[in-house]
Structure formats: structure tokens, C-alpha cells
Symmetry: C2
Subunit: 204 residues, 2 copies
Amino acid sequence: MQISELARRAGVPVATVKYYLREGLLPQGELTGATRARYREEHLERLRLIRALLGPGGLSVARARAVLAAVDTPGTSVHAALGAAHRALPGVGAEEAADLEQARAVLRRRGWRVAADSPALLALAGALEALRAAGAAPTDELLDRYAEAAARIGEQDVAEVPTGSVAEAVRFVVVNTVLLEPVLLALRRLAQEDASRRRFPTDC
Amino acid sequence: MQISELARRAGVPVATVKYYLREGLLPQGELTGATRARYREEHLERLRLIRALLGPGGLSVARARAVLAAVDTPGTSVHAALGAAHRALPGVGAEEAADLEQARAVLRRRGWRVAADSPALLALAGALEALRAAGAAPTDELLDRYAEAAARIGEQDVAEVPTGSVAEAVRFVVVNTVLLEPVLLALRRLAQEDASRRRFPTDC
DNA sequence: CAAGACTAGAGAGTGGCGCTATCCAATGTC
DNA sequence: GACATTGGATAGCGCCACTCTCTAGTCTTG
């Protein structure tokens, strides 16, 4: 298939596909001449994955490239791929997070063990700091309930990882880590809406 | 306090404070002359809230303005404020979501009732569509587990809403809806990391 | 074989966004 | 009276995700 068909089937302008090729998100097609290249079904899948990461996944092109690099690296272990995906994701980044204490305390109470430099830990500390700055510091009790819910989900996510090929597992981990986030957030808001309707019924 | 003190205490450049004033995120100070205005402690709080929404909250200036408008509107009911906050948040937006069916099915199984045009419902449908497009369609079982975890959290969120003044409740709802999202995502990633370490122990 | 449609590749341009810099006249402070 | 600061307005900047344009080459159709 040529670039125009690839673009049409993915619902993306040709110019944008070229841009992804240039940016290294989409691997080159097989050159069949100086001005022709052939693309396969896997290119189409990859293109759809890119669009999912950039759109609903909320990743920037640079972060998507890092995530896809983790998918592509052949020797990656599943645990390492998860780490790579986490590192590539947004969320406070490597900024300073003054006190990690409340964040660490949650982990201790749950018995979780994570890397000392885990980006998620920094992200949590940063998010807590933002809440405090906004004058809405969360209680430990609230955090523990959130952590318990998160534990169920995280357990589920990891249990579902396919054990067949490593490459498949890595792809699964990366895709699910990124693309289930909007699902979770949407479900939380729906649950809030339902609970709010039940608690404040006067104003529908 | 003058603008320079306000800016200094919030850790924000004066030019940026002026920008927020222009954009209507921060209310004008009380003019004490043609080139002087006085700002109060509530301006400082508001400024910190703005920074929390724009930074860790991940909102654009336009969305933050809409969220803050909900906080400011005096007659807003709590349920309506929640809706306003949800509508102002990112997440697929008003784009077409081809089939809402799988999303609606989750709600049915849980007995949730939400507005037919709930933005969160569209967001969920869009997120599911993205997963399908990426070749990682989630099973109903997985969705139900996510929904159950979300139910606990949403219930908790709503139960904590202060019943004192409506304005306070609205502010609480908006802030928590937005700023607890990064907390939840970070906790999920930490749970994944812990579960992944336990399941794939070979490669630490 | 000629005309026209398409292609790879590369560079420049675009529009939106969140600031940031500059300027002005007026008002403070020392 | 010298100098800094302010409110207000306008313009500019840097980044990002495209999008346009151009060139030289290639395929297809008649």
C-alpha cells in the first residue's frame, strides 16, 4: 500500500503521515524506487496507535516517541518497559518535589515497594504539593482509599499482561498504561455524577 | 498589597499576574488611584489556585476560566458545579463518539444514572474507541473492575463535600475533581510498579 | 509515447498558546 | 525633584503539531 492509502485508511492527512515518518514515530516503508515506498498492515496499526497516544492518550510527540521506543526495543523486559512507559509519561516530570514524605507514607502503609527514583512517586508528591498550595490538602484517610482503589486496578492491569511473547507483553503494558488512564478518569467522573445526583437530588 | 508583593508571594512573575488579570482568571484589585490597585489575601489564594489548575491540574487557560467561572457563580448548586467542572475539563470534548454502547452498558451494569449528554460519558466512549483503534479493546470484565474502583472513589469524593456554604462546596468540588486526578493516576502507576515487581521479579 | 496524477523527501510557513518584554502616563517614595 | 513602581495596553517570543510548497522522479492511462 502507498502512503495515500495508508493515510486514508487511518483517517489522517498524508502530510501528517510524512511528519510522523520524519519524527521517527512511524518506521519508514520499504523503498521500491526513488519516489515510492510500500507500507504494510503493521504500519497501519502503528499509525493508529500513534494517533491514540497523541490524541486520547494525551502524549506529546516527543513523549510518544519515547514510549514507542520502549515498545520497539527488543530486549526489554516487561518490568523495564513499564518503567520506560512511566518515565515517558507526563506528570510533574523531574521537577523538584519538596517533600516526598506524605507520598512515601502512603506506600509504607500499603506495603508497596517501588524504585527510589520512580517517576510516579515524584508525580504523586508533586500532585500533593499542588493540592496543598491550592488550600485543599488531602487527608491520609482519603489517600489510603484512593490507594486501595488504585491497588485493585494496578493488580488487574498486571495480571492481564499476556505471557506469550515479550514484545507482545511490552506493547500491551505500554498501551494499557497510557490509554486506560482516560477510561479511569471518565469512570471516576461518571461515578461522581451518579453519587452527586443521589446526594444532592434537588437540582437535576 | 500591591501587584509586586502578590506576585512575589505566589512565586509568579508580575507580567504573568497581569496576564491572568487580562484573561479574567484573577479578579481585578481595588483601584486606589489611576496607577495603583490593592490586592487582598483572597487574590493570593485565587492566584495559587490558578497555578494549581494550570500546572498540575493540566488545564488550559480557557478551561481554567470556565472552571473558575463555575466557582464564582453564586447561585450554582453543587451538582451543577460538578457538571460545569466536568464540562470544562479536557477529555475528547464534544467530538463525535461513534458508539456509546459499550460505555452505556457499563453504566447499566452498575446502575449509574447520569445525564444523557454527560461529557464524561462521551469521554469514556471516546477513550474506548481509541483503545479499539489501537488494537487493545478492553473486556467488559476489565471495565467493570475499573468501574467498581471508580465507584468507591467517586462515592468518597462526594461524601467529603462540605455542607457549610454552597460557595465552599463548589470550590471543593471543582478543586478536588481536577487536582485529585493526577493523584489517582500516580497511585495507579505506583500500584502497577509494585505489582509488576512482584510478578516479574527477575529483572529489577 | 505523452499527459497527468502521484510520490519521497526536505524546508519553510502557520496558528494557537502561555507567557514575556516594552512602552506610556500617572503615581508613589526618598 | 530624582527615581522606582504601577496599571494598562500592545507586540513579540518560543514551542508545538502540524500543513504547505517545491523538486525531481515515477507510475498509469490512453
